[in-house]
Symmetry: C2
Subunit: 277 residues, 2 copies
């Protein structure tokens, strides 16, 4: 089995030897940001968007990325070359650094990892997924922090419900999944996604742009009542692309099968990805 | 300088060599809980309360502590003996463990560290502190998770305001500080602390019990307007004990000097700690 390389402490080294001292603020205080993009045949997909978001997250958490964007791009290229994987995900993590008092941030630690990526099983894409709803708004929803305490805590509840994910809402206004954005297609074929309290997903942005070529699109408030009236629903993410949602809690969406517009947008997204190669 | 020992991966080892692999969910997803108690002359203070809270936090995050309470007490005793510090804080951290997919929890990693502790400077106790308010409620306030993203992000704002800490509130209803509980003394000498959206602090509990011997005590809603009417205000924490608050935002509390009841409760708390020895 191939030994994967990671980037940590300023150099490439074997992933399985990549460690942080326990004084790091990620371990002490859950303090860090990250980003994650897909690499197909050695080519990072939509890298500009992901890097822009990474530096924006760092700035909004008052963290300084130890290398500039050109050097980070070089490092990404070296990592991809070293690992030489056909399809992978690259994760860039920036932690709060080794803190002498366990609270005040120091010079951040920058870590890059690359792992083989598995796309969603075609059966799941064909059948669609059930999701549950959960009352919650992330603390800093527009920043890609490492805080997934609520999402991970919900894993058992999601599985117990026979569901694939949990859609956050507050007072019936829905926002996002722990790791995915949410869309509905209304009866009049408008593509709608929540405007507030969401991470600005790169796939979300791409899907909005693709949809706007053919349909009316809106970023606005979506309520649970709106979902019950929707013709179609789906989620978007870097690794999952577009997954049709056929059930939200006890409510069947549309015909209970993946919608035609959802499938069309997924085909368009795959085309868009191919054009990145 | 003495080499401090820490407990990690099932054994005592030098603190400066204590590392976690980057696949740990604390680093990947900020997933972990912890607790922290004071050790005076080798004697842990109020250990039963801290351990009960630690195991409760773990359970509520669906994490299993790898050793039982008796074994954990033994490990704490070994660590304290090895380091032999006159006054210290012991931190117990439980992380989500080495996750193969970076999201699903595995067997948690248990870490114990011990560091010399510095009590607040007497000048600060004598003069009291200024605090600012910030609109925020922690995600899982009753669980001692490692997530301090908001608190750390506020460090700069707190310093810029010449303040010592930030008091969280939502719609004017106050809850707690990032690492401390909040109390007011009303004009009729009732000791009041917020009832909801707060971490159940051990010092908070001790102070409530000490106060109840002499005064009426209440756990209830406190608004920012209530603070403006308060005779005294203070915060409590394991390391800070009781710190008088003399200003909240632009509002001077009482006479602008530490209150008499606050000072009395601090003396009572120090007495209570001595009785633990």
């Amino acid at each position: 089995m191939q030994t994967l390389q990671a980037y940590i402490h300023g150099l490439l080294q074997p992933y399985n030897q990549a460690t942080l001292h326990i004084s790091d603020l990620a371990i002490q205080r859950g303090y860090g940001i990250f980003d994650f993009f897909k690499v197909t045949e050695g080519k990072p997909m939509f890298l500009d968007d992901y890097l822009a978001r990474f530096y924006r997250s760092a700035e909004r958490m008052e963290m300084v990325v130890p290398i500039d964007e050109a050097a980070l791009r070089d490092t990404i290229a070296q990592l991809i070359k070293a690992n030489n994987l056909p399809l992978s995900g690259v994760k860039i993590i920036l932690t709060g650094g080794y803190s002498s008092n366990g609270y005040d941030p120091e010079k951040p630690n920058l870590i890059l990892t690359e792992q083989p990526l598995t796309l969603p099983d075609q059966t799941i894409v064909n059948n669609g997924i059930k999701v549950i709803t959960h009352s919650h708004v992330r603390e800093l929803p527009t920043i890609k922090t490492i805080n997934y305490a609520m999402g991970i805590r919900l894993i058992r509840e999601i599985r117990a419900a026979g569901a694939a994910d949990a859609l956050y809402h507050q007072n019936g206004i829905v926002s996002e999944f722990p790791r995915c954005n949410f869309f509905i297609v209304t009866k009049d074929e408008t593509i709608v996604t929540p405007a507030e309290n969401v991470l600005p997903g790169v796939t979300r942005k791409n899907v909005l742009q693709l949809a706007a070529r053919k349909y009316k699109t809106e970023e606005r408030t979506i309520t649970i009542a709106d979902i019950a009236q929707a013709r179609e629903a789906f989620l978007t993410s870097t690794t999952k692309r577009i997954l049709p949602i056929v059930q939200v809690d006890d409510k069947i969406i549309g015909t209970g099968k993946p919608g035609e517009i959802t499938k069309e947008l997924l085909a368009d997204l795959i085309e868009l990805e191919k054009r990145q190669l």
